[in-house]
């Protein structure tokens, strides 16, 4: 809700925006000579701003929020809602604050008679065709139109005509559209065109008959399509599948995007994004745990092995590792493979996105190897697109040709190309040598291949060479790995073996599957009378082949630590309680350890986190990225790798949008995601929806 402060504050350098819709201040005052700055007055108070700043940004700098519908600080300026009209002293007409750059000496009157009249008038026009849906509208309570009409609208209506109505459009199974409520702010149109890169939405008709939609019956096919639900200021675009909200992080890819989980009655209703900020820590309450007795005899003298899946939190990973180590087993594997040769995962710089996600905005040349970031890490891709749009980032790709929503230099998809770039004979090497801040990103899917070590060696060589030739300063890191699963980095930090080769070579009698559903090891790979224990939250492939199934908690049901692909440790929080007998994963492992006779030395989550710190201190440095170094040493060790590249082309597993929706056990169990896949393959009309008003 936008709240106008009673008094506009004088300039103090730092601007505050008191909105729950976090409006970041894009006005940066640099330390250049002050003769460059322009003096403007906001309600009589002087403020210095850079030339080119708009009236709206100037007022925000002082702390005055101007109401708006179509303006969004991450999108281009449209200026079509006219709600931001403010009076400038001695000017004949009010100006649109979001679009008008300030001139020297202007006095912006944000609460004068004319300004207030303008706002009331605009509000009246917007409400004239807006349906009386507040009681049944999903957006009620978080609706910009409601808030701004309370604050700035007139108190009485003069409307005696009839309202127009618009047909609902079907743009996919994720977005519920009630286009009668649309106020034509065009935020969704601009988002689709600029941020998502798909130009599907547009306006048709004019005046009273203007409609927003895709004109032809077309699905809004983008991996970022759900974001328009958050952008729409009214209830025109809402969430179709959908409180109690909890701040958590997203573990369906390795980016660790910050989210808010909204729940009702023990079910997760919807997910909203949130800004990455510092969080307060919660307390956790231990609950007693009881389990069956069969497990206790199981571990006597048997070979034990474990496989960890893609959505396991660090607490469970360390509990599992401690349990198996105490049973004298080192066979702890992750499903995702990462090359074991050379330095492997000894040096963190070998397996992290070293340039960081914010570092993408500083680089000028990016080389993608064997990855499709659009569907593997969509928000990383959106950041690259932003850089490509505004910062002149050049992108080149070695891998299968895919639509990334921005244009790039496709160098080829064979490993031959990779070899040539590493050897310095490819024409692209010249471009790489001239780049001032190059970045090389290798996708983890490329490293899953049998020649993964050789690919990594080639990429490492390319990174070292381009670093040397670009002459960039010490702090800049070139080599980056883009992971696809949320638990991988934490598992590598803790010292897990990568890939199930160790289990294949030494098949254990007892196999522990911790959320492992990727079907890497089947019964056929294990000795005849082996025992499989599965612990997880969505019983997928792993549960089907197990002898014992232990119900664990999903990421929305526990306080867990996950490390994203940059190496940033973040926590999830409990949004709903786990159903039935399910418990947090580390607690189950702690109970098993007692039954197996090797009791683990921790009883509370704080003690587990202290143990995490003993193994890898960065795991408890929440929301921070720790710098990792020693690229030279890693490269030296990788030189000894003797593998040769296979001839097979580098093809990432997710190529089109229909591959995007079902990549992990939670998505595979989701009805909404199934509808998305069906709609993507057969068209929007093929999905049966109950008629909703």
């Amino acid at each position: 809700m936008l709240r106008l402060p009673a008094v506009s504050r004088a300039l103090a350098g730092a601007a505050h925006s008191q909105g729950s819709i976090a409006i970041t201040n894009n006005v940066r005052t640099s330390a250049r000579a002050s003769s460059n700055m322009v003096e403007v007055f906001v309600d009589g108070k002087p403020v210095m701003v850079e030339p080119g700043t708009t009236v709206l940004q100037t007022c925000e700098k002082v702390g005055v929020q101007i109401p708006r519908f179509c303006y969004h600080d991450r999108l281009s300026v449209a200026g079509n809602c006219r709600m931001c009209l403010v009076e400038i002293e001695k000017a004949p007409k009010p100006v649109a604050a979001c679009a008008m750059p300030v001139m020297k000496g202007w006095n912006i009157l944000t609460n004068s008679e004319k300004t207030r009249k303008a706002r009331e008038g605009v509000m009246e026009f917007l409400l004239s065709n807006h349906p009386l849906d507040c009681p049944i509208c999903d957006q009620g309570g978080e609706c910009d139109l409601q808030d701004q009409s309370m604050m700035f609208g007139a108190d009485r209506s003069r409307f005696t005509e009839g309202k127009r109505a618009v047909e609902d459009k079907n743009i996919g199974p994720l977005i519920k559209t009630i286009m009668t409520r649309c106020i034509h702010c065009t935020r969704c149109v601009r988002f689709a065109s600029e941020v998502a890169g798909v130009e599907d939405l547009g306006t048709t008709g004019r005046g009273n008959s203007m409609q927003i939609g895709t004109y032809v019956e077309k699905m809004f096919m983008s991996e970022l399509s759900g974001n328009v639900i958050d952008l729409c200021p009214v209830g025109a675009l809402t969430s179709k599948p959908y409180a109690f909200t909890t701040e958590s992080i997203d573990v369906l890819d390795a980016v660790g995007s910050n989210i808010v989980v909204s729940t009702r009655g023990g079910e997760v209703m919807r997910i909203l994004p949130r800004l990455n900020e510092d969080l307060l820590k919660y307390e956790n309450i231990l609950s007693p745990f009881t389990h069956t007795h069969a497990i206790s005899q199981l571990f006597q003298g048997s070979e034990v092995g474990a496989i960890a899946g893609g959505m396991v939190d660090a607490e469970a990973l360390v509990a599992l590792k401690d349990l198996l180590n105490r049973l004298d087993s080192d066979t702890l594997c992750t499903e995702e493979i990462f090359p074991m040769a050379g330095a492997g995962t000894d040096l963190r710089s070998n397996y992290l996105l070293n340039s960081r996600i914010t570092g993408i905005e500083e680089c000028d040349l990016m080389l993608l190897v064997g990855t499709n970031p659009r569907y593997e890490a969509p928000l990383f891709n959106a950041r690259v697109r932003k850089s490509w749009l505004h910062n002149e980032l050049q992108v080149a790709m070695v891998g299968h040709k895919v639509d990334l929503s921005y244009s790039y230099n496709h160098l080829g998809e064979t490993t031959q190309v990779l070899q040539e770039i590493a050897a310095g004979t490819h024409p692209f090497c010249k471009v790489l040598a001239q780049a001032k801040k190059p970045v090389v990103v290798v996708g983890s899917s490329a490293l899953q291949r049998e020649d993964g070590a050789a690919i990594f060696k080639a990429v490492s060589t390319i990174a070292q060479n381009s670093r040397a030739s670009s002459g960039v300063e010490e702090g800049w890191k070139v080599l980056n790995v883009l992971h696809r699963v949320a638990s991988q980095v934490a598992a590598l930090d803790l010292g897990y073996k990568r890939g199930v080769d160790a289990i294949r070579k030494n098949p254990p009698k007892v196999l522990f599957l911790l959320g492992a559903d990727a079907d890497c090891i089947t019964r056929a790979d294990l000795p005849k009378d082996s025992f499989i224990i599965y612990q997880g939250h969505h019983g997928d492939v792993g549960a089907v082949m197990a002898d014992v199934i232990l119900p664990g908690a999903a990421y929305t049901e526990k306080n867990g630590t996950y490390v994203n692909t940059e190496g940033r440790a973040q926590q999830t929080r409990v949004a709903v309680t786990a159903p039935g007998m399910a418990r947090e994963d580390w607690k189950i492992l702690r109970a098993i350890s007692e039954l197996a006779g090797v009791t683990l030395p921790y009883d509370t989550v704080d003690e587990v986190r202290r143990r995490l710190e003993e193994v890898s201190p960065n795991l408890v440095r929440y929301d921070d990225v720790e710098e990792s170094n020693y690229f030279k040493q890693a490269h030296e060790l990788s030189k000894a790798v003797n593998q040769s590249l296979l001839a097979a082309p580098l093809v990432p597993p997710q190529l089109t949008v229909k591959d995007f929706y079902m990549t992990d056990p939670i998505s595979r169990a989701s009805q909404t995601m199934a509808k998305c896949v069906k709609a993507a393959t057969e068209g929007a009309a093929s999905v049966d929806e109950p008629s909703i008003c």
């Binding site: 401690d322 180590n325 105490r326 049973l327 004298d328 080192d330 330095a343 492997g344 995962t345 000894d346 040096l347 963190r348 930090d493 010292g495 090797v598 003993e614 193994v615 890898s616 201190p617 960065n618 440095r621 720790e626 710098e627 990792s628 170094n629 020693y630 040493q633 030296e636 060790l637 000894a640």
Partner: protein
């Protein structure tokens, strides 16, 4: 250099006696300087002699440099490397290799 001799002496004994080695250090503090030098100068040799052993190097700002060793059955020992120089770090590693878990 004394450290180099010690590292050569340890050689592949590292993987014979230990299951995992962890080195925690700070990227910038003076107390971790010896640890940082040790990694720069001797990590590669040590790793080449013990390719299968996980030698986890975990940099984290503000930590006290510590060397952890894990033996069989999950037993662990740690040694603080606070303010040590390269030779002392090497000696600390040697002591952990020879220690009984």
């Amino acid at each position: 250099m004394a450290a180099a001799a010690v590292v050569r002496g340890i050689g592949s004994n590292l993987s014979k006696h230990l299951r995992e080695v962890r080195l925690h250090l700070c990227q910038i503090s003076a107390a971790s300087q010896g640890s940082r030098d040790f990694i720069e100068q001797h990590y590669v040799t040590l790793k080449e002699a013990n390719l299968e052993l996980p030698i986890l190097i975990r940099e984290c700002s503000g930590v006290q440099p510590t060397l952890w060793a894990r033996y069989g059955f999950g037993k662990e020992r740690s040694v603080s490397l606070d303010n040590m120089n390269v030779d002392q770090v090497a000696k600390a590693l040697e002591s952990l290799v020879n220690a009984k878990p």
